[in-house]
Symmetry: C2
């Protein structure tokens, strides 16, 4: 079988004609599907509904330390919720703060606090002429949204199979005091699904930043979001807090997570973990911001899972729903595009996304073709700072929300659109 | 009966001796009572526990617009929660944003956003040499905490029987472009319990601030927190949004509220209302901060109350618990201190606080004496910016949390401590 690049102009023209016919038929079907975001499916949400029965009118409302969770108090989370999130972070409970629903909100507040008040006594970023962040690409659009909103200059760092290009990271942070942070999704990265290697984590912990207030923003959103029960099929990465401690850089990292993709995105709990010195710095601000976050929801979560084993067993129920969807996408792409030389993609063992690279200059066209066929993908470019994918080749696939039947149809449409966009591009180049 | 000021030195000395004997006995009793904050009592929390049954594993989770409240989405609150809070604000639902648990958090974020990004295109406050807020005093310590944290200069404005001294407010905001806001609790003010007069609200709406980005921070925390069912005994104030609109100043005010003292302080919902132009300005930032707040809790609240009549009926249950406490404090202070010329106090018809003024220079001493007798009051000075009550005379009484029996004991101790501190002061002046 020939790759598309090997086809002659007339062969390409013939192919385009056939593809356009198919595409017209797909358009007639009037598909309506939104795959733009990493939303859990209804079946996944159903896994956690009995959590809502854990705190009711017949409950007691006391946390382990005797606090009535209905009333004011407890800035940093009830002890049992801190322990629950500490088990996710694999750190001591006294290195955790539990917040409200959204870890994005914690990240925003962290940047905002650094901007208004500085990090541990360092100059507030709003008083500096230049503040920069490193952004492994492709990456998570909402991370880039926060830094762009604060006028922080974003520098692309390519992702490799082992995580961000660490040669580049090391050199940049050591040489430029304006670089204050780097956005990381260390496990099952958004959107590639890649997990950082042990070496990468080790090198992160041993960074020698020029800026004393440089922090690694370690968004461990998918820390326990494996697709497979077999441990050999689960990605594991070293504990960044331990590594930083061992490297003599205990304050180097901020870690974030939430239960948005464990219980409910609309009603979960979020958490932050870091060195005690960092936590003290955070709480100095936090005490002016709130008296405390929703403690009944913290109690509800903890009672539902019981302990960490209970939580991990729950994650396997998610895996049972998610795994066939990831495998279906992989199979569809392999069958549809495998030998054509027009696309590559990742095959993650966890997380929420698959990253698809098409021919340079084709991503926007693929997304537009899909849209005109009734299928909304994440906007092309969204995986890059400023929405600008320099090669216009990366597409994020979010397979979680559709049913398996819808996803099957969606993959056919996606394959068709990738083919069509590729033929158009190759013809234009002839 | 003589006032204390009319007593001779020897009479005062005799009195002091007796009071010290009484005080020693009180200390022996080993009281332990925290009246420092406006915390609802357990009986009040119990009023809302069936709300927790409104969303359970057997529920449907759909909001009125068909959104699954368990999943991502809806930045500004589900429609029925917006309507519920709009009824509290007495404004259209499209002028409301529903947030997470804490209105304090909304206020903090509002100041923070103005600091980092400015108000409606105006210069961010972090780029200005001087930013000032007006602070009606006595007032709410957590308001002053936010502005102090951002290095905003706070200017005291005395409270009158009708609200803040409006002559002073009008003159200051018109003459100083650095004045960007004023903290207001317009109904049953914290700590005086005073409600602003119609004239005061009208004058607020007609302010002519030098600063285009001046906003009134209208913390309507006790909008529906009446002590009496009889309408004639309920304070009512004009709708500030309507007044601002009528005055041609639609963007002049930000309004805040929460259900912390309606359902649960530890698990309520908070809301913001303002002109549509202000809301658009807020949402420009908010969309980077979060995907949405806890929608299941919004749903839970709305289903529990049904409609505004249901909510108001619920508030009357709170009133039945709170009213005897307020009346007990009033009666105790009147009986204990009424004719002595050493204290005045407010007699609010709603809210959470009573304001007690003792002789100049005595507030700290009274609070210290109470503390040594086992009774924690709000720190003296807390009701003023920077914790500095220039006359050291104001004490905030929070009668909600203790049982009626505890409160009776507490009032006796308070009366005793006021007498003792006053005698000490008068003797020192002789």
């Amino acid at each position: 079988m020939k790759t598309y690049a090997e086809l002659s102009k007339s062969e390409l023209e013939e192919l385009e004609k056939k593809l356009l016919e198919k595409y017209a038929k797909v358009q007639e079907q009037g598909m309506k599907l939104d795959m733009s975001r990493g939303k859990p499916s209804t079946a996944q949400l159903d896994l956690s509904v009995t959590m809502l029965d854990m705190v009711n009118s017949g409950s007691d409302f006391m946390s382990n330390d005797g606090t009535d969770c209905r009333n004011y108090g407890i800035l940093d989370g009830i002890p049992e919720a801190k322990q629950m999130m500490a088990d996710v972070f694999e750190c001591p409970a006294d290195q955790v703060i539990v917040y409200g629903t959204s870890s994005l909100n914690i990240m925003y507040d962290t940047v905002s606090r650094s901007y208004t008040h500085g990090v541990m006594g360092n100059t507030p970023w709003c008083k500096l002429d230049s503040v920069k962040f490193l952004c492994p690409v492709p990456g998570y659009d909402r991370h880039f949204g926060i830094t762009e909103f604060f006028g922080i200059e974003m520098i692309n760092v390519p992702m490799t199979e082992e995580g961000p290009d660490m040669d580049m990271v090391e050199e940049l942070v050591a040489s430029d005091e304006a670089i204050k942070g780097i956005w990381c999704v260390p496990k099952y990265q958004n959107p590639t699904g890649i997990s950082y290697s042990a070496e990468t984590v080790h090198r992160f912990a041993n960074l020698k930043p020029a800026a004393k207030d440089f922090r690694i923003y370690w968004d461990n959103a998918y820390a326990i979001h494996h697709l497979y029960e077999d441990k050999d099929m689960q990605d594991q990465i070293p504990n960044i807090l331990d590594e930083c401690e061992a490297a003599g850089n205990p304050d180097l990292v901020y870690q974030f997570a939430s239960t948005s993709k464990i219980t409910f995105p609309g009603a979960g709990i979020a958490a932050f973990s870091a060195s005690k010195a960092n936590l003290e710095d955070v709480k100095k601000q936090m005490k002016f911001q709130t008296i405390g976050h929703d403690k009944l929801n913290q109690l509800r979560h903890r009672r539902f899972f019981g302990d960490h084993d209970g939580l991990m067993a729950h994650m396997m129920k998610h895996a049972e729903i998610m795994r066939p969807k990831f495998e279906l996408v992989e199979q569809s792409l392999r069958t549809g595009l495998g030998d054509l030389g027009i696309a590559t993609w990742t095959a993650p063992k966890g997380g929420y996304f698959i990253s698809l690279d098409v021919l340079d200059g084709c991503a926007k066209r693929v997304v537009a073709l899909c849209k005109d066929a009734g299928m909304i993908l994440t906007g092309a470019g969204a995986t890059y700072p400023y929405g600008k994918d320099p090669r216009d080749c990366n597409i994020r696939i979010a397979p979680s929300y559709p049913t398996i039947e819808e996803l099957g149809e969606a993959c056919k449409v996606l394959v068709l659109c990738v083919k069509l966009a590729s033929v158009e591009k190759l013809l234009a180049d002839k």
